[in-house]
Each structure stands twice: as structure tokens, then as C-alpha cells.
């Protein structure tokens, strides 16, 4: 729990900053039977990022990385919209899209675990080719669909709550169950923490790695459905562009090390929400596009400094002036070369 403290503080600070600029920022109303407000927007637009980050967390915990999620997002949305535009049922479309996403994820996993290729390169292949595949599916055009059932996934509401949020909560719950109630989490952490030791402890690391990449594919696939459903169209060119970077950032902000090992699902969710809040903040307080990146740089720097125990310690030391006495031995005691 303590690990989540600092991400929480940062999130709260960002939200407060918004209240300062837009006093009604935190208010949530029911409008036309839907929840309506900036907070809901953050959750709704953040939902795909949370999902992708969730998959990314497990991949990173095994000591890997998945650059292809953005392409999978595009492919999944493209395939679903193509199917729907060709009069296939929404259900078929969704199943096909998710099936393909899982297969693509498993392919990554196979390259990493089976062929022993470094994750960053293994997934780079799909990152590049997958974007092409998405464009191939859409023929480079934007496929517009008008299907209320499909619209529900990313743009609709259920019991006044945006459906996407519910979907993310459900997947989050399942993931938490699989990893923390069942033993998957511990085995993943073991593989990421010391692969050879895990092998010698009898863990079937390959299976776990393939599964984790497939799960990342699934998450990206669902996110792709959400994104395309939200705007009722599939954009093979732009959907999910750079989302892998945001997702990795979310995981890192959430306190999971890129070296693998220990992971924190809660931290990742907070990380993703911080990123989405930051984006919304930029829009609503009117940071001009030319300075957006400077603002982002500033926030990311503050985030990582605040998270760093070393920084906090040094900051406290500086205030209390309790710096350690420096050694005096250097000048006198010479080492023979």
C-alpha cells in the first residue's frame, strides 16, 4: 500500500491544479441519464490506456517489453469495423478481433520465449508490420460504422456509467484474481526476478511468457475496440499511435521496474490515470500546443523526483542540514599505484 502513496499524491495534486483553473472540475452530474463531468472523461478516455498498461505490466514483470501494443490496438479496431461494415454481427466481429489480438500477442511471446529473441526487437517486428497490417485491413481509409451495439463498448453507457469503465474494472478484477489470488503473479515475478533460478525451480517459464504476451495482446485488442467504438470508426493509421510509450510510462510511474520482477497492478492503474489526467489538464487549462511537451516534461520530472526515495531523503537532509561528514582520509592516505 505504501508504494501507492506517492502516485496517489501526484494524482491528487494534478486534480487540484485543475480545480484551481476550472472550479467545477470535480463535479459529476447526471445528464440525460449518463454520468457527466471531467472526472468521468478522464476515466473514460483513460480506459484504453489503463487496459494496455495492465497487459504491459505483466510483460514488463517477466523482464520483457511489448512495443507492438499500439499496432494491435489499430488492428483490432480495424478488423472489427471491417467486419461490421461488411454486415457481420457485432459479436462475430468482436470475437474475431480479439482472437486475432491474442494470436498476435502469442506470436510475440513465441518469438521471445521460443526463439529467444530480445523482447524489444521481437515486438518491434510486429510494431512495424502490424501498423501496415492495420492499414491493409482498412485499405488506408477510415472505416466508419454505425452500430449501436458496437458503440456501447467504448462510447456507450450501462446503468448511467460509461461501459468502457465497467469493462476495465472487470478485466482489472480478473487480472488481480489471476495474479494475486492464484499463483500466476508470484510465478511471473520469479521469472522476471531471476529467470535461471525459476527454471531450476521447475517453473515453466516459456508457457508463462507466451501467456503474458498473449494477455497483453488481448488487452490491446480490447483497447482497440474501445478506441474505435468511441469514435465509431477505425483508423488504421493513427489508432493507438505511441500508446506503447504511454503504457510503459504508466507502468514505470506505478513503481514497476523495467528490469522485471515485482509488479503492482494498482500502481499501474494510478500511473495510467496520472497520464490521462495530465492530458486532460493540458486541454482544459489551455496549455498551447507548442509548450505542451515542456509541460509534460516538467510533470514527468516532478513525478519521478517525488517517487524517488533518494530524492526525498536528500531533500529532507538539505533542510535539516544533517549531511554526513565527508571523509578526510583521501589526501593523506595514498594508495600505491
Amino acid at each position: 500500500m505504501r508504494r501507492l502513496l506517492w502516485p496517489l499524491v501526484i494524482l491528487a495534486a494534478l486534480l487540484l491544479m485543475n480545480v484551481f483553473f476550472t472550479p467545477g472540475f470535480l463535479s459529476v452530474q447526471v445528464r440525460e441519464g449518463h454520468l457527466y463531468g471531467s472526472l468521468i472523461d478522464i476515466l473514460r478516455f483513460g480506459a484504453p490506456l489503463v487496459l494496455v498498461s495492465l497487459g504491459m505490466t505483466l510483460v514488463i514483470a517477466t523482464g520483457g517489453i511489448d512495443l507492438s501494443v499500439g499496432s494491435v490496438v489499430a488492428i483490432s479496431g480495424a478488423l472489427a469495423c471491417l467486419q461490421i461494415s461488411q454486415d457481420a454481427g457485432v459479436f462475430t466481429a468482436v470475437v474475431l478481433a480479439l482472437g486475432l489480438s491474442v494470436a498476435l500477442g502469442a506470436w510475440n511471446g513465441f518469438l521471445v520465449a521460443g526463439a529467444g529473441i530480445q523482447p524489444i526487437i521481437a515486438t518491434l517486428i510486429l510494431m512495424v508490420a502490424g501498423r501496415g497490417l492495420a492499414q491493409l485491413i482498412t485499405d488506408g481509409q477510415i472505416i466508419t460504422v454505425n452500430d449501436p451495439a458496437y458503440k456501447l463498448i467504448g462510447g456507450g453507457y450501462w446503468l448511467t456509467v460509461p461501459f468502457g469503465i465497467l469493462l476495465v474494472l472487470a478485466i482489472l478484477a480478473v487480472t488481480a484474481f489471476l495474479t494475486r489470488r492464484l499463483a500466476l503473479g508470484m510465478l511471473i515475478e520469479a521469472v522476471g526476478g531471476n529467470a535461471e533460478a525459476s527454471r531450476l525451480a521447475g517453473i515453466r517459464a516459456r508457457g508463462i511468457i507466451v501467456m503474458v504476451y498473449a494477455f497483453a495482446g488481448l488487452c490491446a485488442g480490447v483497447a482497440g475496440l474501445m478506441i474505435s467504438s468511441n469514435v465509431s470508426s477505425a483508423d488504421g493509421n493513427n489508432a493507438g499511435l505511441w500508446i506503447e510509450l504511454d503504457a510503459i510510462l504508466a507502468v514505470v510511474i506505478g513503481g514497476t521496474s523495467l528490469a522485471g520482477g515485482r509488479f503492482s497492478l494498482g500502481g499501474t492503474v494510478l500511473g495510467a490515470l496520472i497520464i490521462q489526467t495530465l492530458t486532460t489538464t493540458i486541454y482544459s487549462i489551455g496549455v498551447p500546443p507548442e509548450t505542451t511537451l515542456l509541460f509534460k516534461a516538467l510533470v514527468v520530472t516532478v513525478v519521478c523526483l517525488v517517487q524517488s526515495a533518494a530524492f526525498r531523503e536528500k531533500a529532507v537532509n538539505l533542510r535539516g542540514r544533517t549531511a554526513r561528514p565527508r571523509p578526510q582520509a583521501e589526501e593523506k592516505v595514498q594508495v600505491p599505484a
Binding site: F21, T22, G24, F25, R31, E32, Y36, G37, S38, D41, F45, Q135, D139, G140, Q141, I142, T144, G155, I227, N230, V231, S232, S233, D235, N237, N238, A239, T279, T280, I282, Y283, S284, I285, G286, P288, P289, E290, T292
Partner: protein
Amino acid sequence: SGGSGAGSGSGDGSITMGFSQVGAESGWRTANTKSVQDSAKEAGVTLKFSDAQQKQENQIKAIRSFIQQKVDVIAFSPVVESGWDTVLKEARDAKIPVILTDRAVDSKDTTLYKTFLGSDFVEEGRKAGQWLVQSFNNSTDPVNIVELQGTTGSAPANDRKAGFAEVIGADPKFKIIASQTGDFTRAKGKEVMEAFLKSNPDIDVLYAHNDDMGLGAIEAIEGAGKVPGKDIKIITVDAVKDGMQALADGKINYIVECSPLLGPQLMDLAKKVVKGETVPTRVVTEETTFTQEQAKAALPNRKY
């Protein structure tokens, strides 16, 4: 196989053209590519097509490789205006004529290319501004405008913003109260518009640098319980099919066309250039603007 286009390629009429496209970042661009490819086929031009994936260095590399392959003519849509002198000089030294499409280059040396075929983004911004000025000319109330910009730093975003600002700047009642990049995409357009709607209670006009962002914004506006086209007037640029549909449905008020269908004109120019005929140094594509009524009429024959 068809590597070299038989020397200077003047007599037998078989022309090899090297075409370096910016990328495939939008439906507009894809339509542009298709138009070039289709009309090349029709005109009997062998097309060497290369996609630069939005990177100038890739375009430079592609042009180099066209020179290497000794094509008869090179055409390309520059990612940006600057930085083409070196490679264009190489083309000139190799005696390969160059045609610019879609965007210009800012080189002072105009002998580097034969002609420039394309739209004028600043003019597009101006047209959008002019319609706005006209449709509000009998009111004196302040007009609150929000702007959805294209990708930060990209030429269409810079120019469409500048042209628009130039025109509306003349009258202080027009106020751009918020301006953000929507990266030319629907998803971003929607997301940014949602934020605008929350932080700015009265928005009168939305100016989007392309249809897609406008279409995304329409969803946001509807989601906020307002009526696009009525409560908030919407101006966009491009006139792709989905945009025209929305215009015809009354959800958009005005679209400035930016036509991607440069192919036929490009092939004509290429043939002339290869034959050594003189061509005008600036060929503007035939483009228009659409109101809601015009859209209803034009929609049935809209190809892309």
C-alpha cells in the same frame, strides 16, 4: 525489372516516374496515393512508389535511390518546405526533372524543380475565415471560437492556422478562446473537444483543420447535449466523404475542399516535362468550398 527508363525516355513514350509519398497518415493521404497510382496506370507511366513514413530523411533517401535507378521524372510531396536543396541538386545534375506535389519547397533556387502542383493551405485557412466573417457579419456579439489544430509543426497545421487567423484577426469580435492540437485524428478531436466543452461553457464556433477532427468533435458535442451545426457552428477543411455526409446532414456548416486527386494533372505535367515542354511553375489544383446545400448535391458523386 523495369529499372531504367530507357535513357532520356523521350521518344517511345514509356515513362518511369519515381514518386515519394509522405506516408499514409490519413484517409486523405491514401486517396492522394491512390489517385497517383491509378492515373499512372491509365497514362501508361511506370510508377516507382516509395512511402517515407512521415520522415524527411526517408524522402531524401528515396529520391537518391530514384536517381540511382535513373528514373525519367521524380515527383514528391515534401514533408516540410525546407531542406531539399542538396538532393534536388543531385537530381538536376543527373538531369532528372522534378515535380512537387501537394506542398511547396522554400528553396530560393527555382531551377531545382520544374513545377509545383498542389493546394495552398494558407488560402484554405483564409477561405474558412472568410465564411465565418460573412456568416456573422450582422451581429456584433463576440464570437467564441475553438480551434482543433493538426499535428503540431506540420505544414497544413501551421498554414491553416495562419490563414484563418489572418482573416478573422481583422475583427476583434472573433476570439479564439481555446486552441489545441488534435493530431488530425477523430479520437483526439473528440477527446480535446470534450475537454473544451467542460472548461468553456459558451462556444459558438469550432474550426477544425481537417474533417476527421471535426467528426470526432461532433460526437463530443452531441455527448454534451448540444446540437452540432446549430449550437456550435463547425468549419472544417478537406471534404472527405464522411465529412461531406456530416455537412449534408447539417452537422457541419462549411467545408473548404482540399483535393487529394492530383493524379491526372500530375501525369499530364510529367509527360510534358519529360518531353521537354515548358510548364507553368505553379499549378493550383481545382478546389472549391462546400456549404450544406452544395454538399447535398455533390455527395452522390463523391469518390473518397
